[in-house]
Amino acid sequence: MNITKTIDATGLSCPMPIVKTKKAMDTINSGEILEVLATDQGTLSDIPAWAKSGGHTILEQKTEKDVLYFYIQKA
């Protein structure tokens, strides 16, 4: 996977992970991939719901050592 940008939102609580994700998404081009790291469990439902509302695609999602990873391809 060719990651264009990475956002580290670990340790941040809602709404900051989404706020940072959105800002970063605004800076990349359609088809490019954003990697988001977060620890707030709320992101598990909120990031997919946010991506869906913007038409973005979650290519992969995983949890490693309590950190959640999202790979989002911009619409």
Binding site: C14, P15, M16, I18, V19, S45, D46, A49
Partner: protein, 375 residues
Amino acid sequence: MTISKWTAAQVARKVIDNEELFILDVRNKDAFEDWKIEGHKFEYLNIPYFELLDGVEKILPQLPTNKDVIVVCAKEGSSVMVAEMLSEAGREVAYLEGGMKSWSSYLEPIKVADLENGGELYQFVRLGKGCLSYMVTSGGEAAIIDAVRFSDVFTNFAKEKGVQIKHVFDTHLHADHISGGRDIAAETGATYYLPPKDATEVVFDYTPLTDGLNVKIGATQMDVNALYSPGHTIGSTSFVIDNQYLLTGDILFVDSIGRPDLAGLAEDWVGDLRETLYTRYRELAEDLIVLPAHFMTIDELNEDGTVARRLGDLFKENHGLNIEDEDEFRRTVTENLPPQPNAYEQIRQVNMGKIAPSHDEQTEMEIGPNRCAVR
């Protein structure tokens, strides 16, 4: 404009006093549809906070200016952000302190009755989750039934009332919420009772709660009598207090009956449930006031906020008590059941003492409605 911070207690007053409130719920749609703050006269708008990051202008026309508006989210953070945006747009709004987490935790103690010889009976209404706990006081002593996990609410209440907690009961091994019974007993030196048939896997000591057990509370010897009433679980036990009140646990509710499947044995227990509801309870006095361990919707609340109904009225009105045909009853309580409570298997493990999650993990497990009933 100013932003005010409301506590769950303030919102609870609005529910109980039947007042109007406009709730702007900024959680995502699934969460809102699954579970929200219910009020008789509440209005709602659900827009996820992440759809408002570019501004709140589009929702301004949908927000009333002639009634209180409160912004609600899961934990608080997003509601503060949205409230600030609305304030900058010239609106006066509030947000809920602690979000739905604090709503789920809040308990409102309401007096159900004065008992003989100065005794009192209180119902602790957990509006956010639909859980009901009880405290009986008499002659300087108290008994608690089906305490939820916020043990300090009960111990502080007992201190305020100047009563000593002597007996702590759980009517059954709960699957929808974490019991506070063991903690209260440990803190106060009270005896903790659990039905032995529900306790085969528990890893702590307890006193068996069996049919016919009679406990006297305080100098006035208030009677608390146990009545074996299986069906929701195999150990489920009811209480008759002061010959006037029937605490039914999760067997009988105001507008529904207990579901037999949360321990995985619906087919085995449906016969027990039938016998409890159609035989054992039928032998009791119809004037007993039923006090259940849950309510499902706020329509079940009385005007003073309590959940209580005469047994004889439930025999007439509760659908679950009026299914003549046994096969139809079996199908009703075993097929097409509503979804199970959130994390119910883990919650049972906690209540058996097998796992000890952190405070935050317990909060997460208990998110959502209780879902212990079938209609």
